[in-house]
């Protein structure tokens, strides 16, 4: 009953977003071009790195491309779903329109996380998914079980990214300008374009535990190329559940401290 209502509301948001953006058809072409350029640039970098044919840090050329593909896919997810919603929180708190989200009889966290969808940024996700499929299809260790596991790990990865991004945006309740905070996150996240397990030990630790970038691209990639280990898989699931729980707690705390813009 409840779920049905949420799905219906989500459907309305999606439809409204699409119909608002379809007015600008040129945008679609421009975005697709941008996505290809982005992926192409990273690919070129990887190709140069691997130009002498030796694997880097135990990752072959094709295996690295799986990571690039996942990175591009997650970028698309951020651009399409997270950025248009979560980066508005600061503005809404400043102007006081956050009030209206809190007045509605649906979960306000759901509301502020799902209202706007930038459909054009889904091109990134498409290009990313294409890269992953293309690269994995040429790997002998890739299996359907690995692919299935990889899919699950992509879901936990997206959950982790959402939770971290959401918590960073939530700081808007105290510091009204948070654009910089999420930019910082984005900067770190760029590291996700490369296999974290190919990096030196201490960097690896930072990118696994401090900033969970490893779970976002490397771990799902390891599953897809057939090299997963139970520890990372379990760690990814635990991290997702934990971070989601903490973000929920943080949200509850933030709205209990919310003072609303005076008017």
């Amino acid at each position: 009953m409840r779920l049905k209502r949420y799905i219906r509301v989500l459907g309305i948001f999606v439809r409204a977003s699409i119909s608002a953006q379809l007015e600008y058809r040129v945008n679609f072409a421009v975005n697709l071009f941008g996505s290809l350029l982005l992926a192409g640039g990273t690919l070129l970098g990887i190709t140069i790195l691997y130009s002498d044919g030796t694997p880097l840090g135990g990752w072959s050329y094709r295996e690295s491309i799986v990571v690039v593909g996942l990175f591009t896919l997650v970028q698309g997810y951020i651009g399409a779903f997270l950025y248009p919603n979560l980066n508005k929180i600061g503005e809404e708190v400043r102007q006081g329109t956050m009030d209206f989200n809190l007045l509605k009889p649906v979960d306000a966290q759901f509301l502020i996380s799902s209202r706007n969808i930038n459909v054009f940024r889904l091109t990134d996700a498409l290009v990313g998914a294409g890269l992953v499929i293309w690269a994995a299809s040429g790997l002998e260790n890739a299996s359907s079980i690995g692919a299935l596991l990889g899919l699950c790990l992509i879901v936990t990865a997206l959950t982790i990214v959402y939770a971290v991004w959401f918590m960073l945006s939530m700081t808007a309740f105290w510091f009204v300008k948070v654009g910089n905070v999420t930019e910082l996150f984005n900067g770190f996240f760029r590291a996700g374009a490369f296999p974290v397990s190919a990096l030196p030990g201490w960097v690896r630790l930072v990118f696994t535990f401090l900033i969970p970038v490893a779970f976002v691209t490397t771990v799902p990639a390891e599953a897809i190329i057939g090299r997963w280990n139970a520890g990372s898989v379990l760690g990814s699931g635990v991290a997702a559940v934990l971070l989601l729980g903490v973000s929920r707690w943080f949200w509850t705390y933030a709205i209990s401290k919310y003072t609303s813009a005076s008017s």
């Binding site: 009030d99 509605k104 209990s256 401290k257 609303s260």
Partner: protein, 349 residues
């Protein structure tokens, strides 16, 4: 909100409600910015200071008070937006800050200075979003829209992009969006601010009609005295977070203005001294004179003037409400009441 108990227990119960804001102070300029960056100075603002009141179902109550008195803060606590620092609040039996679905489906908060409508889309699109969020069945939605369109004259403006609407048209749409789910409790915070007199009157009529039709409980704050006097029999005056008056509008007038004005038109000249014998001479222009007399002696003194003076015509008036409230605040703390812009008086006619 159960429909069985609203006749017995008050819909809104507030006891010793309190809200303290923590404000970080900053000196102006770069030096001030640096100083506050290193060490933030905190001050506490007691915006609402232990207020108590109860409101029965179907009542319309006006909140009056100068700017910064705490009216908005009080409404936001009632609507569940702000968590009270201390005190007891129940709205329809619910604790507002828990923001339960049944609670939120039965209230609305309209803020004249904020808007919920999507800026780039027609108002109708925002309505559809609200229809889904509030789970309004299609037939009920259609019926409500028909009624609202009729009273608010929404015809022709629902399909225009919100940013292309005039302020008044937008406010009508805001009201419709906020009341689409037919809430039983309305918190209206300066819903007519910035609107011209005609629009103020239209919105006032709409609120009155809504109250009548749905037996809705309404708390209204307004800059315009006319809104409050036209809609609310009961007035709560808030000043510096305290309730300084709670009662009938007429009692407020009586308390704040213990006098009435006897307006005389004389048939021949009479000296100021002679007129001052009956009361305070507040204005004098040739044969026209206003004499302020104690409220409880009005009829006796008016009769004496009629008998003893060459009177051509006489009227007895209450002093204008704006002035009354003004003197009420002037008396308690030398602060003027919220500005009463030109237009409010005309609107009162």
């Amino acid at each position: 909100m159960s429909h069985t108990d609203h006749s017995t227990t008050p819909v809104i119960q507030v006891r010793d409600l309190e809200k303290v804001y923590t404000v970080h102070e900053k000196e102006p300029g770069l030096r001030g910015s640096l100083a506050s960056f290193v060490r933030r100075r905190k001050t506490l603002v007691r915006a609402v200071d232990r207020i108590s009141f109860e409101i029965d179902a179907g009542q319309m109550v006006g909140f009056l008070g100068p700017n910064g008195a705490g009216k908005t803060t009080a409404l936001k606590m009632l609507a569940g937006l702000l968590h009270p620092t201390d005190g007891f609040v129940r709205v329809g039996g619910h604790v507002p800050k828990e923001r339960r679905t049944e609670f939120l489906k039965n209230i609305t908060l309209v803020m004249g200075q904020k808007q919920q409508l999507l800026w780039d889309l027609p108002a109708l699109d925002s309505f559809l979003v609200n229809q889904a969020i509030y789970e309004i069945p299609n037939d009920e939605y259609q019926a409500t829209m028909r009624e609202f369109s009729e009273i608010l004259e929404l015809e022709g403006i629902l399909k225009k992009q919100v940013r292309k609407l005039s302020l008044g048209e937008r406010m009508k749409c805001e009201l419709a969006a906020a009341l689409l789910h037919r809430p039983r409790v309305l918190f209206l915070d300066e819903p007519t601010i910035g609107l011209d007199v005609n629009m103020q009157v239209r919105i006032r009529e709409f609120v009155a009609e809504y109250n009548r039709r749905f037996n809705a409980t309404v708390i209204l704050t307004s800059h315009y005295m006319a809104d409050v006097t036209a809609l609310c029999k009961r007035i709560i005056v808030i000043d510096k977070g305290h309730i300084v008056f709670d009662g009938d509008l007429s009692a407020l007038v009586e308390e704040a203005a213990p006098g009435k004005t006897v307006r005389l038109e004389l048939s021949e000249n009479v000296s100021d001294e002679r007129l001052s014998f009956y009361g305070k001479l507040t204005s004098r222009e040739g044969l026209f004179a206003d004499v302020l007399v104690p409220r409880n002696e009005t009829s006796r003194l008016a009769a004496r003037m009629l008998a003893e003076l060459p009177v051509a015509d006489v009227t007895i008036e209450d002093p204008p409400i704006e002035g009354v409230i003004g003197t009420l605040f002037a008396g308690t703390n030398r602060q003027a009441v919220d500005a009463v812009p030109a237009g409010a008086e005309q609107a009162a006619r």
